[in-house]
Subunit: 353 residues, 2 copies
C-alpha cells in the first residue's frame, strides 16, 4: 500500500534518487536490488526499512517491479522512461571520451563514404552494445555524374554518382560487341542529359531523346538502366543499415538463451519496420529513446534503442544509434549518440559546403 498517494509525474527528490540508485545498481549487476544492498552501497542516511517504504511507493507508481515476493526490485519500462526523461537534456559526454571518438573519426577522414560505418563501430565500442547507422540519404536523388566503363566485349559497368557523393554501380549486358569509344560517347550524352536532375526530371529528359542513330539505341538502353537505378535509390527509405557490436548484446545475461535474441535480430532485418522507425525520428535532431515495449513489436520488448538523426532535414538525413537490453547504461548511450550524431552533422555540412 502506498503510504502517501502521489500524482504521477512529480516525485519526491529522495524517491527520485533512490530510483536512480536502483537503476544504477541493476544496470551494473543485472540482479534485482534489495533495500539492504541499497543502504549499504548508497547510504541515504535512512534505514533499510524506510527505503523499503519508498520502494513500495515507487512500485505503486509503476516505476519498479518485483520478479517475485522475496526478490529485490527491478525497474519497469516506465521507470527507465522516468529516469531517461530526467537526464536526457542534461547529459554531456565527458571531454575525454569526446576526444577519443573525434580521434577515431580523424583517422579515416578521407576513406570514402564509410563514415556511417565508423559511427556504428564507435558507438558499439563506446557503449559495449550494438551500434547502428545508416548512410545519409537525400529526400530526392540528384544525379551528379554518369560514367560508363567497358568491362568486356558485351558487358559494361554503369556508374552513377549522386550529388552527395553516394554511388551506384550497375553491370549492363550489351546488345552486341561495343567499344569503349561508343560507351564514352553514350556516357557523355547521358551525363549532359541527366546531371543535376532528379529521377522525375531525368525520366522526362530521357523520353525526349532520339533513340535512333549510331549510338541512339545504346543511349536509350543505358538510360533506361540509369533511370531504374536512380528510382531504386530514390524509393528506398533506408539504403543500408550498418550494425556493429551485436556480439556485445549476445554477451548480456538476458540473452543467454539465444531464442530471444534471435527474434530481435530477425526484427532488425525487417526493413519496413526499421524504415518506419527511422523515418519517425528523422525530423528532429534530438536524441530519441525507445524503451522495451515502447518499441511496439513483441520481439523488441527486451531491448531499448537510443537513436538520433543527423544531416540537414531538407536535404539528406541518416540515423545513428545504439541498441541494447532495456537494462542499459542510458546516460552513456545518450551522451555518445548525441555526440556522434553531432559529428556526423559536421561531416554532412562539410560535404554540402
Amino acid at each position: 500500500m502506498a503510504r502517501r498517494p502521489r500524482s504521477s509525474g512529480s516525485l519526491d527528490p529522495r524517491a527520485q534518487s533512490i530510483l536512480r540508485a536502483v537503476i544504477d545498481e541493476y544496470v551494473t549487476t543485472a540482479t534485482p536490488v534489495g533495500s539492504n544492498s541499497l543502504v549499504e552501497r548508497y547510504g541515504f542516511g535512512v534505514s533499510s526499512a524506510t527505503v523499503r517504504n519508498i520502494l513500495a511507493d515507487l512500485e505503486a507508481s509503476g516505476l519498479l517491479t518485483h520478479p517475485h515476493t522475496s526478490a529485490g526490485r527491478i525497474p519497469t519500462d516506465a521507470g527507465y522512461r522516468f529516469f531517461v526523461e530526467s537526464i536526457v537534456d542534461s547529459v554531456i559526454l565527458p571531454p575525454v571520451e569526446q576526444l577519443m571518438i573525434r580521434h577515431q573519426f580523424g583517422q579515416v577522414q578521407h576513406a570514402s563514404e564509410q563514415w556511417f560505418r565508423l559511427a556504428a563501430t564507435t558507438l558499439a565500442a563506446a557503449n559495449r552494445t550494438a551500434g547502428l547507422a545508416t548512410a545519409a540519404k537525400p529526400r530526392s536523388a540528384h544525379v551528379r555524374r554518369i560514367d560508363v566503363v567497358s568491362i568486356s566485349e558485351r558487358l559494361a559497368s554503369l556508374i552513377i554518382v549522386f550529388r552527395e557523393g553516394a554511388l551506384r554501380q550497375v553491370l549492363v549486358t550489351l546488345a552486341g560487341p561495343t567499344e569503349q569509344g561508343d560507351l564514352t560517347r553514350a556516357a557523355v550524352v547521358l551525363d549532359e542529359l541527366m546531371a543535376g536532375r532528379t529521377a522525375a526530371d531525368a525520366e522526362r529528359a530521357l523520353a525526349r531523346i532520339d533513340g535512333t542513330g549510331p549510338i541512339g539505341g545504346l543511349v536509350q538502353h543505358l538510360g533506361d538502366r540509369v533511370l531504374a537505378a536512380v528510382r531504386d535509390y530514390d524509393s528506398a527509405v533506408i539504403e543500408e543499415v550498418f550494425s556493429d557490436g551485436l556480439l556485445h548484446v549476445m554477451a548480456e545475461p538476458e540473452f543467454e538463451r539465444s531464442d530471444k535474441l534471435r527474434r530481435v535480430f530477425a526484427a532488425l532485418e525487417n526493413r519496413a519496420y526499421l524504415g518506419q522507425l527511422f523515418d519517425s525520428i528523422s525530423g528532429t535532431n534530438r536524441v530519441q529513446v525507445f524503451i522495451g515495449a515502447e518499441n511496439g513489436p513483441e520481439e523488441m520488448r527486451d531491448v531499448s534503442l537510443v537513436l538520433a538523426s543527423y544531416g540537414e532535414p531538407g536535404r539528406a538525413v541518416g540515423v545513428v544509434g545504439v541498441l541494447g537490453p532495456t537494462r542499459m547504461a542510458y546516460p552513456q548511450a545518450i551522451g555518445t549518440v548525441r555526440f556522434v550524431s553531432g559529428l556526423m552533422n559536421e561531416l554532412v555540412a562539410h560535404i554540402h559546403a
Copy 2:
C-alpha cells in the same frame, strides 16, 4: 570390445549403411540414436542386438561416441569425415533445386557486382544454415578507369574502377577551391597514366610525373590517393565476407545457449583467420569440408564449413560456402555449394569473356 578387429579406412558395407543411418537420424533429430530406434526406422533385417554389436565396432573405430553409458550413439568428427569422404564426389543437386537457384540468379542478372551476396543468401536459404561468400578478387589489381567528380568546393569524389568491375570510392579534401574542369583534366591525366596498370606499375608511372604546372599539383595529390586505394585493394586477402542466415544457426539446439555461438561469430570476424582459410582452398575448385575440430580454432569445434572457391585461379577468385553445426546435412550442403560455385564460375567467365 570389438568383435572383429578391423583396419581403419575400409568398412563392412553393412556397418557403413548403419553409420549413415546414425548420421541421418542424428542430423534430423539432434538426439543420440540407439539400436532400437535404428532397427525400427531403418530395419536392416537384423535384430537390435546385432546392430548394437556393430555400433560398438564403429565406436571402437572412433566413428561414433557415447555421451554417457546409457545413451545412444552420436557421430564423431571422424564419423562425419568418413561419411563425407564417401559421398563428396557423387553428390549432385536435384534438378528441381538447380532450377530454383538458377531462377534466383536470373532475377538480378544486371544488379551490379552483388552476385556474391546473392550466393550467400541462396546458400543460406537452401540449407537453412549460414551462407558465406566473398567477392571475386584478382591476384593483382589492374586499374581500368579513374574518374574524379566534384562534390563541393573543396571536396572531390575519386572513383577507381578495376578490371573486373570492382570499384572503390575515396573522398578527397582539396587544397583549395577547385572547379570540375580542373578535376576532369586531372582525371584524364591520371586515367591515361594508370589505366591497365597494376599497383607497382602505377607507382612507377606516378613517380615520373611532372608535379608542377597548373594542374600538376592536383594530379600529384589525387595520384597519391589513387595509389593508396589501389594498394589497399591489392593487399587485402579478402575484401569483404558477406554472410546471411546466421539466424538459422542461432535456431539450432546446440546453440540454444548463446555463448558458444558468440565465440563462433567472433571467430568469423577475425579477418586473418578467414583470410588464411579461404586462401588455403583457393587453388582447387573442389568442394572442401572442414568438420568441427578440423577447423583448428577452439571456438569452431562445434561447427562445420563447406566451402568452394570460384573464379579463374590465375586471375580472380572468391569463395562461397556454408556454415552450420557439425550436425549438418552434408549431402545437401555439398550439393548446393558445388552448384552455386559452378554458377559463380560461369558469371566470372562471362565478365572475362
